[in-house]
């Protein structure tokens, strides 16, 4: 590849990535490293969500089901077999394959529906997975969940940090290429105008299903990393709260961009950390979720494009997400 042909923004991202590799040698506090790890994980999860929401214009309220599938597949594999790298890899492969199959089936069955029906149906399906995890105690440990041991190699937080960072970088650049490919252009045209895309000769359903499979597999991988960082799994990995969290991250950061969800994940995680840390000052900070809600409403009202979207609009006059809003209003 010709170095000149690489876009300037790519160089900036590479530089940031390199900086992040140095961070764990400077920031050695375990709690801070843990927060960064969570940001990487939720950044991945939110990017996968944004592939549907921001790029294809699909609103899903059940995206957490793939996250949960990834989390449980790996946790169960590590728990049932010994805590070795092969067991972990088996778990990861299972996680990705099951997520691919589930997202494919869900996509084929439901993506023909109009968007609000699809949103409702995904919500119901995610609920189904949650109930299944609660009831199938022999496999999932039910509500209490279970802890498990990790392979030696990824036990300390520094190696987890690098694992998550490398994953984030790969997925970020992978998705970036995807969204800039001919396929990605069609996804955006679907977001803009589904009917028109069809009359240009594209089979819209195929694109939506492929996008949801890619997105599901990535979400599942985020789930894998999540339980690795916790060494514990319970039914909360299927909770709808998590879908709302990534929705929030995506919207705060900037819908229809890839860096946006990562920034959103960072802000939400740090806000969570600092606000709950302030609970000694005033009891309201213990109820940080209230503040969260307020921020969410303010962002939607004043920065509907999110942080990245607003900056882009100011700098380059680009508003990638306006079409999304138009589509939504068309639906209702």
């Amino acid at each position: 590849m010709n170095l000149r042909s690489i876009e300037r923004s790519t160089w900036i991202y590479i530089a940031i990535a390199l900086l992040l590799f140095i961070v764990p040698f400077i920031v050695t506090g375990r709690s801070m490293q843990f927060i960064l790890i969570q940001i990487f994980i939720f950044g991945i999860f939110a990017m996968s969500y944004d592939l549907l929401l921001g790029f294809t214009g699909i609103i899903s309220f059940g995206h957490v089901m793939f996250f949960g599938i990834g989390a449980y597949s790996t946790a169960i594999s590590l728990d049932r077999f010994d805590s070795t790298i092969p067991a972990l890899l088996l778990g990861v492969v299972l996680a990705l394959v099951i997520a691919a199959i589930v997202s494919f089936i869900v996509g084929i069955l439901t993506l023909r529906l109009k968007s609000h029906f699809y949103a409702m149906l995904t919500l119901a399906l995610a609920g189904l997975f949650l109930v299944a995890a609660e009831k199938w105690r022999s496999l999932s440990g039910g509500n209490d969940g279970f802890t498990f041991r990790l392979p030696e190699l990824i036990r300390d937080s520094q190696s987890q940090y690098f694992l998550c960072l490398v994953s984030l970088i790969f997925i970020f650049f992978g998705l970036r290429r995807l969204t800039k490919s001919p396929f990605g252009k069609v996804l955006m045209s679907i977001r803009e105008n589904e009917q028109r895309t069809e009359s240009l000769g594209y089979t819209v359903l195929h694109y939506k299903v492929i996008a949801s499979v890619v997105s599901g597999v990535i979400a599942s991988f985020a789930g894998v990393l999540y339980i690795i960082s916790l060494r514990f799994v319970n039914t909360s990995v299927f909770a709808t709260d998590l879908t709302i969290d990534v929705l929030l991250m995506t919207i705060i950061g900037g819908v229809g961009t890839l860096i946006g969800p990562i920034i959103g994940a960072g802000l939400v995680e740090f806000a969570h950390h600092w606000l709950s840390g302030l609970s000694d000052v005033h009891w309201i900070f213990e109820r940080w979720i209230i503040l969260y809600g307020t921020v969410y409403i303010l962002v939607v009202i004043f920065f509907p494009l999110g942080i990245v979207g607003t900056i882009q609009a100011k700098l380059f006059g680009r508003t990638v997400t306006k079409g999304l809003k138009d589509n939504k209003s068309k639906v209702s």
Partner: protein, 256 residues
């Protein structure tokens, strides 16, 4: 005379209202056919049936003697039926170039490539620029479609249709809502198209001088039915058409 598209007893009703009523027509290949009729006569609905946006309640459609009644819009486009829309139907937040490029990309059958960067498809861009030049829209290539003037959106609509390189072009009122000074440019584009021999064009229009000038054959729809067909001169002379058309145009009931 070879037929490119044929309908048999084609009907569609919405609730109790029959929008297209048992229309059986043959559209000759490589000719210029116009469809006229007062507002609400079912012209656009008829187009929607041909291009697959709507499926008929009754009757069938044949494209080059093969039945396509059950095929989706996508499949019909791939067979060679392209259409433009009366209500401008573009990708609002993509640039003009990107709009056309999506059509070119579909025509070149690069549909599922997720690996290659778009940069590597320079020929699509080249082609898109050529088409934009044809419709006099080159200088707007980098503007977002949403920011175009109405007439320019109509041109973009035609550019996207051209990019698909379909054998059959269904043009749904390409001059609708245009200011007078914008119309000649569109007519020029359509004339150019007509000169390319291997194209079949079906045009819905209200501007009679345009119809007279361009058409080989004219079909008249009225209340969803085929009222008359023939050469433009014949149609103008036809008394039923005159009374129906003028009566329909100025009938208060028709306007509501």
């Amino acid at each position: 005379m070879e037929a490119i598209i044929q309908t048999e007893d084609l009907s569609i009703s919405f609730g109790g209202h029959v929008a297209v009523d048992s229309v059986s027509i043959t559209i000759p290949s490589k000719k210029f056919t116009s469809i006229i009729g007062p507002n609400g006569a079912g012209k656009t609905t008829f187009f929607n049936l041909l291009s697959g946006q709507l499926s008929p309640t009754k009757g069938s459609i044949f494209y080059k003697e093969e039945e396509i009644t059950k095929l989706s819009t996508t499949e019909r486009t791939r067979l060679g039926i392209g259409r433009s829309f009366q209500i401008t139907n573009v990708f609002p937040n993509l640039t003009v170039l990107e709009n056309v490029r999506l059509a070119v990309q579909s025509q070149k059958k690069v549909r599922y490539n997720m690996i290659a960067h778009f940069r590597h498809f320079k020929q699509f861009e080249q082609k898109s620029y050529e088409i934009l030049e044809k419709v006099f829209l080159l200088e707007k290539a980098d503007s977002k479609a949403v920011n175009l003037a109405h007439g320019e959106k109509r041109k973009l609509e035609i550019a996207m249709l051209l990019a698909l390189e379909t054998e059959l072009l269904l043009l749904d009122e390409p001059t609708a809502g245009m200011s007078l000074e914008e119309v000649p440019a569109i007519i020029d584009v359509i004339k150019q198209l007509k000169q390319e021999d291997d194209r079949t064009i079906v045009l819905i229009e209200h501007k009679m001088d345009m119809i007279m000038d361009l058409s080989d054959e004219v079909l008249v729809l009225f209340h969803g039915e085929l009222l008359a067909k023939g050469k433009p001169e014949e149609i103008v002379q036809n008394e039923t058409v005159q009374s129906a058309y003028l009566g329909g145009m100025y009938d208060e009931k028709q306007l509501t």
